[in-house]
């Protein structure tokens, strides 16, 4: 046990851990349905433009996609471990593990930047001349690719900011061994973003 258990917080403050977590899950369901709708659009267009999607997919870099999958899975591990650390009262290790998660998130974003920049250099970016000349089916593939991976990347940025704030409050002691629900909720968000990538990776990079 660490000093956090000796806190002099004697006035009873109601802390509804279950309510907070349930609220987070309900929010996650709206996220699932947001991406779910996009996956439905993907499914329909892929069904109508099978060959074009095949060609489009072949132009994506599988190696970068695979590296990013490993990076994101590892970041999920570090978040899960930081919750364990805080539950065991080791807030220093919890913060360290969140820092590792942020480094991995940065790696993911760098790879994403590299991928998009390569497409940009080839004129394959929404609004560019070469992009406008793409045949309809392939254009649909790349529109969905940029929109869905872009929306996912925005989620990575939001998740990183959330985890930064959480790390700050762990350092302050507001989030601690007794009250770690905010860290759990931050973790839930991060894992959901990971789950979305688990589907994005095979559907965009691997369809053969």
């Amino acid at each position: 046990m660490t000093s956090t258990t000796l806190s002099h917080d004697v006035h009873p403050v109601h802390f509804d851990a279950y309510g907070k977590k349930l609220g987070m899950w309900i929010f996650l369901f709206t996220e699932v349905l947001l991406f779910g709708g996009l996956f439905l659009v993907y499914a329909a267009y892929r069904f109508l433009n099978h060959d074009a999607f095949h060609e489009g997919s072949a132009e994506l870099n599988v190696v970068v996609g695979a590296i990013n999958t490993v990076v994101l899975l590892t970041s999920s591990l570090t978040v899960a471990m930081s919750i364990t650390a805080l539950q065991r009262g080791d807030s220093k290790r919890a913060i360290n593990l969140i820092m590792w998660t942020l480094i991995l998130a940065g790696t993911f974003m760098f790879n994403k930047y590299y991928e998009w920049y390569t497409k940009w250099e080839h004129g394959l970016f929404p609004g560019m001349d070469h992009y406008k000349e793409l045949p309809a089916g392939k254009a649909q593939f790349f529109n969905l690719y940029f929109f869905m991976t872009g929306l996912h990347a925005i989620h990575i940025i939001i998740g990183s900011i959330l985890l930064m704030v959480i790390a700050f409050y762990i350092k302050k002691g507001t989030i601690n061994q007794q009250r770690y629900t905010y860290l759990e909720n931050g973790g839930l968000y991060w894992h959901l973003v990971d789950v979305i990538w688990i589907y994005l990776f095979p559907l965009f990079y691997l369809i053969i």
């Binding site: 899950w25 439905l40 999920s76 364990t84 973790g187 688990i198 095979p202």
Partner: protein, 95 residues
């Protein structure tokens, strides 16, 4: 009082084990994608992705130790999505 949090703590070693499983499944998806199973290719990729999501959900997201209501709603959202997908394709496949 719901002041008390659930007491189950996932061990570091167990989390690492789940992570290793996830990496193996990622390798498997990439390997399997090299073969052409025709229309089954997507199904195989989605089945592996769903197994991975299941592992993340049950262990990293701690669903295994949540109450029945929460589990039921998660399954419900999954079923809802699947139902919409089936309705969508019942339209496209026969038009």
């Amino acid at each position: 009082m719901s002041d008390t949090q659930n007491t189950h703590v996932t061990g570091y070693r167990f989390s690492i084990l789940i992570w290793v499983d996830l990496l193996i499944l990622t390798l498997l998806t990439i390997e399997v994608a090299q073969f052409d199973f025709q229309s089954l290719t997507v199904i195989v990729a989605l089945v592996i992705a769903t197994i991975k999501s299941y592992l993340v959900g049950t262990h990293f997201m701690h669903l295994k130790f949540e109450n029945k209501f929460l589990k039921a709603v998660v399954i419900g959202v999954g079923v809802l999505f699947l139902a919409v997908l089936i309705v969508l394709f019942s339209d496209y496949l026969f038009y």
